[in-house]
Structures are given as C-alpha cells and as structure tokens.
C-alpha cells in the first residue's frame, strides 16, 4: 500500500499542472458550468487544446487515438483540472460514454469513422436513453426502430439529453422488435443529429437554464451501418455505456466536491461560522476525504482487474448527497443573501445556482433509490425487490 504517486504519475501530474497554469484562458477559470458551457466557442476551443496536448482519451488504446495510459492518469487529470477550476471537455458524453461503447462493440469502420473526431471535440455526442415513461426503468423504452430494406426508421421521444442541441451524433436505445418487452428486442443506433425528422427542444430546469433537452424522432432514417453491436442486442451495449459512465465518474465528482469544500471553507472565513456550522464544515471535510480515498481504493482494483471495485458503486451515491449538504451549508453561511440571484447575489449567485442544481444530482445518472437497490442486490446479495 502506497498512497503517493509513482515517479511516472508524479511527473505527469507536474507537467499537467504546469500546462494548465500556462494554457487555461483566464475567462474559463472557475467556469460556471451548467448551460454556460454552451455559450460561444470558448469551451469547444479549450476541448481542442486538451486534445492537441494529448489530454483527451488518456486511457483509450493508442490505436484509437488515445494515450494508452493506466486509469490513474485519468484520475490525476480530473483532479488537476478540477483544482485549476478548468471546464470539462465539451465532449464528455463522447469521451465517457459513446467512445468506450464504440471501442467495445463497434466495427473497425465505425471506430475509424467516429473516434478521432470525438476526441478532438470536432464532433459532439449526446445520449438518447431516458424517455418520459422510461427513466429508472430503461427497459421500458418505446422509441421504435423499424427495419425497411437498408435502413431503420426511428420514431419516438427521448428526454434529459444534455448537449443534444449542439450534438452531431446521438447514441440511441430503440426497440427494434415490435412485439418485444423489457430487455429483449432492443437495438443501439448511432443517429446523425442533422437527419431530417430530428427535433431538439430545450428542457428548462429549476435553476432557470436549460442544460438538457427533449429529442423528437419522426420517421428518421438511419443506415443499417449505424447499428452498434447486434440488432436485438441493444441492452448489452447500453449496459456497457452505463458501466463506463460509472467507471471514472467517481473521480470527476470527487474532484469537483473537493473544490466545493475548499470554497465552503473560504466562505466560512469570509462570512464567519457558528460552532454548529464549524462542526458541519468539519464533517463535510471528513466525508470528502473518505470519498476521495474510496475513489482511490476503487481505482486500485480497476488498475489490477480492469473493472471498478464494488466500493466504486457508492461513489456517485455518496457524492450526490454530500454535494447537496455542502451547497445547503453554504447558503446557511450566506444568511438572507442566500435568496438573492445572479448579479445581485454574493459571488455572482454561485452558491444559489450550485445548491438548486444539486437537487438533480440524486436523480441523474442513477437515482439514489436505484443505486441503493443495486448495492443491496449486487453487492450485498439480497433478493431482488422487483
């Protein structure tokens, strides 16, 4: 057991830190995130810079344009980016979900066609999984894909798709066998978002902005070459996507929580904190360290076995609840100012925005209820409740 970086990791970290210091544009530092990611080209340009410096797809195989590095490098990248308060790569869906799914299930043509442009943020990806009637129960999807000679015709609706309004491609879970129910008869398609019949509508959320979208598909023609995996085998492919979403997500989340707790401590210094609030701040710092080292434990297992350890299943669950507590505590420190917005508010409304946004954290990427059920069934081995 050694909790220090290896020599190579230390060198990578130092080099990255220097590069971020020298290259992160000032206007992007402490970027608000959320819908502001889509304002102008600044974040896309930043994403291209990351690609050109070799920081996109660090763990991807070299043959697909990646760095071929161990997972610890991705963890270091996420930590240092968060510390520098740099915005995420605009292509996070591509990097974290579509790309790894294409690497696992794609044909050589598909890999050649999609992967490089994904890494450079030349092409942006969105995800078409959830529907109004298929959220936690993804197998209830009804968006249909009807095979007609050389193409599928897609009809249906997806919801909660971030980046859909700027995306070039969509990874779409459809029901291709009309008589099928639940996990059977699904097909995973790659959709050209510029196709006729694709309509994107923004979904306004409680923070006032629209990070997510609805996507409507009306008679959208999709060439059969755009099937990923087997026709009818879409569930397995979707599970690959979700597994990867959960893989390195832990580090990304932990890093952003570390920044939030640091800011909370600064806030307490500026605004003052009562003994009860000091106790709460200390508790959040302690819980943050526990989360950090749990992410490292899961990483250690992943580096040895290629699969995240079972302790990784709790990272998102814990992070989401911790983020809600931390942002709420910040509002408490702000007192009456907590109810002001944007430019009238202290720190430009940062905490108000973060706190409202945090209510979505326990819902997106697996609700807390579903995650607890997964832990109970798959980790503790308890009988299935559904």
């Amino acid at each position: 057991m050694d909790l220090r970086d290896t020599r190579d990791e230390e060198a990578f970290r130092a080099e990255l830190r220097a590069w971020l210091g020298a290259n992160l544009p000032e206007e992007l530092r402490a970027h608000r995130g959320g819908a502001a990611r889509f304002d102008g080209d600044a974040v896309r340009n930043w994403s291209r810079m990351l690609y050109e410096a070799g920081y996109s797809g660090l763990t991807w195989p070299k043959e697909y344009g990646g760095g071929g590095k161990p997972y610890s490098y991705q963890a270091i990248f996420l930590e240092e980016s968060a510390l520098a308060e740099a915005p995420q790569h605009l292509g996070v869906i591509g990097l974290g979900m579509a790309g790894p799914t294409i690497i696992a299930h794609g044909t050589e043509e598909q890999k050649t066609r999609y992967l490089t442009r994904l890494l450079s943020a030349d092409e942006i990806w969105c995800q078409g999984f959830s529907e109004p009637d298929a959220g936690s129960d993804l197998s209830a999807v009804r968006t249909s894909a009807r095979l007609e000679s050389d193409c599928f015709v897609v009809d249906g609706q997806k919801v909660w798709s971030s980046y859909a309004h700027i995306a070039d491609w969509c990874i779409l879970v459809t029901r291709s066998d009309p008589g099928s129910v639940r996990h059977a008869g699904l097909t995973y398609l790659i959709i050209d978002m510029a196709s006729p019949g694709v309509e994107v509508r923004p979904l306004r959320q409680i923070t006032g902005e629209a990070e997510f979208n609805e996507i409507f598909f009306t008679g959208v023609e999709v060439p059969v070459e755009n099937v990923l995996g087997d026709v009818g085998g879409g569930w397995q492919v979707a599970m690959t996507t979700l597994l990867h979403e959960r893989g390195t997500l832990g580090f990304s989340l932990t890093a952003t929580l570390e920044v939030a707790v640091r800011k909370l401590i600064e806030l307490a210094g500026e605004r003052g904190a009562t003994p009860v609030q000091r106790d709460a701040i200390a508790r959040e710092w302690i819980e943050l360290q526990a989360l950090r080292f749990t992410a490292y434990r899961s990483l250690s297992v992943m580096m040895k076995t290629g699969v995240p350890g079972p302790e990784g299943s709790i990272l998102k669950l814990q992070w989401s609840e911790a983020n809600q507590r931390v942002t709420k505590l910040a509002l408490e420190l702000l007192g009456p100012d907590a109810q002001l917005l944007a430019d009238n508010a202290p720190y430009g409304g940062f905490w108000q925005h973060q706190q409202l946004r945090s209510r979505g954290n326990t819902i997106e990427a697996g609700t807390s209820e579903i995650l607890r059920g997964i832990v109970a069934e798959r980790v503790l081995g308890l009988p299935r409740s559904r």
Partner: protein
C-alpha cells in the same frame, strides 16, 4: 497510488481471522507466539521488524472478533513509547501494558504493567492497586489504579500526540471490523428470515438501510486505511487523519450495529445474540478519550483557523 495489500499481509489477515474466531480470550503468550505482539518491534529486539500496516490488519480483525486481550492497550497505544528492552518484553510475551492517561484505564483486567503521564514524562507505575469496574463492553473493561508511585522513565511526554494519533487510528480500524461483522450478520439474517411469505431482505425498507450501512462502512474504512498509512509513514497529516478516522469510523460502527439490531427484530434485542456485544464495543470506541464533536472541533480549527489551511 496503490491501496492494495501484499500477499503476505493478506495471509496475515486470513490467519488472524481464523485464529481469533476460535480464541475469544487469547493469552498474551499465545499472541506473542503468533508474532503479533512484536509485529513492529525491531528484529534485534525480537520482533518481526514490520510496521503499522500489519498491526492495522490485526486491529481490524480483533475488532471483528471482539478479542478480549490488552492488544490495543499495548500495541495500539503505548508501544512506540517503550524503550527497546521493554519492547523486547512485549515481543516475547513477558509483558503487556496499558496507559493511565485519564481517570479510567482500559484493559486493567489483563494488562500486566501500567504507565502514567506526569509532568514532562511517561513513566511506569510501581506498587499500585488496580480495581476493575463493571463495564458495558465486557471485552474491554475499564478500571482505576490506586496508589503507586512513578518509576522507570519510558519516554518524554512529547510523544503523546503521536501516541494519540496511533491509538485513535487503531480504534478506527477496530471499529471497521466491528461494523463489518454487524453488517454481515444482518445480511445473513435478512436472507434467511421469512415473513409474509418472503425473505425480509426483499423489502426495501430493510435492504436500503443496509445498503446505506455498507456505504458508510466503506467510506469509513477508506479513512481508516489512509490514517493507517499516515501512521506507518509518519506523514504530517497523521494527526488530522487519525482524528477524522476515529470520529467517522466510530459513528459508522455504532450505526451499523444499530441497523443490524433493528433488522434482526426481536432476536437482535436478546442478550444471547452477539449483536449487543459488537454494539457495546462500538460505543466504547466512540466514547474513548475524545467524542466525535471534539474531534470535529479539532478538524475545524485545522481547516479554518490555521495559517495556510
């Protein structure tokens, strides 16, 4: 960063679990023969010359097994403060120790020697009387020492902060073992016990709190392992890591025991079931020396009041 244990360390854990499950009150001589008392004592002094990571494994396993022996009192609290010749006696099994830091002293029923703090030094106490008190946790009774006088010098009291960090980390690791066992018993029970025609583990009101317990224990264990590494490496963060670990791990263990008692229903409330003993060890750990609130206050001072925090 690598969190894994070596094959030798894993083997130690396997052996420890097997031995401790069948030896609830091992003699000090038996523990010495296994090489456990002298794990971190130097080879010249008759020890194994290993370190705190090996001891960490033993603390965790002894928590799980509710071992009734002065291992924590000797090895977890005082060992680094003993001069080499006294460490050799610990390694050989001739002596076990406890430190009388406050009015209540742990393991007075089994520890052979007592140390006290006076002025600027830690010394052995000679010629005292001991009285063991009725204690909730029968596996780690508290007692008082009466009379006696300060004898041989052991160390300067400068080492006390280090001993505190070490002893807190050891308790945190024990708490992880206690909590893990309580959870395992709960899982086993809710898979077997049927009501309304189904194993009760199928009901989310039962399974989800256990999932939360799993999460809390894993988070706590990560902290305990971090603290253990800091102690082993004498890292500058050792004190804050130990405080954080003791606070969180004790709380997680208490909660794990309470949830386990709850899902066991009436049976979990009986004297015959082991759960109340695990629970009492968790409560003992939580109340030893510094409460969670006190420890968090120390962490808050470190975060909010110190320069460059």
């Amino acid at each position: 960063m690598d969190f894994s244990f070596t094959p030798e360390q894993d083997e130690l854990r396997t052996q420890a679990r097997a031995f401790l499950s069948t030896h609830r009150e091992p003699s000090w001589a038996a523990l010495a023969e296994l090489g456990w008392t002298g794990v971190s004592v130097s080879e010249q002094a008759g020890g194994a010359g290993l370190g705190f990571l090996e001891e960490a494994i033993l603390f965790e396993e002894m928590g799980r097994a509710l071992t009734h022996a002065p291992y924590w009192s000797t090895v977890g609290v005082l060992l680094p403060a003993l001069p080499p010749e006294l460490q050799a006696e610990v390694a050989s099994g001739e002596a076990s120790w406890t430190l009388a830091l406050g009015p209540l002293v742990s393991d007075l029923d089994t520890a052979t020697r007592v140390a006290i703090v006076g002025g600027d030094s830690i010394r052995e106490l000679d010629g005292f009387e001991r009285e063991v008190l009725s204690t909730n946790d029968e596996t780690r009774p508290l007692g008082v020492v009466v009379g006696g006088e300060a004898g041989r010098l052991l160390a300067s009291s400068d080492v006390l902060p280090r001993l505190r960090a070490r002893s807190f980390t050891a308790l945190a690791l024990e708490a992880c073992g206690v909590g893990a066992r309580a959870l395992e018993l709960a899982i086993e029970y809710v898979k077997e016990r049927e009501q309304f025609g189904k194993p009760i583990g199928i009901y989310q009101a039962v399974s989800h709190p256990l999932a939360t317990t799993y999460m809390e224990l894993e988070l706590a264990r990560s902290l305990a392992l971090w603290a253990a590494w800091c102690i082993a490496e004498d890292d500058p963060q050792a004190r804050i890591a130990a405080a954080a670990a003791k606070a969180l791990c004790a709380e997680a263990a208490v909660a794990a025991c309470e949830r386990s008692i709850q899902v066991h229903g009436g049976v979990g409330f009986t004297w015959e079931h082991i759960l109340h003993r695990l629970y009492k060890r968790a409560l003992w750990i939580q109340s030893w020396e510094a409460s969670g609130a006190q420890l968090r206050s120390e962490v808050a001072t470190h975060l909010l009041d110190t320069e460059g925090a």
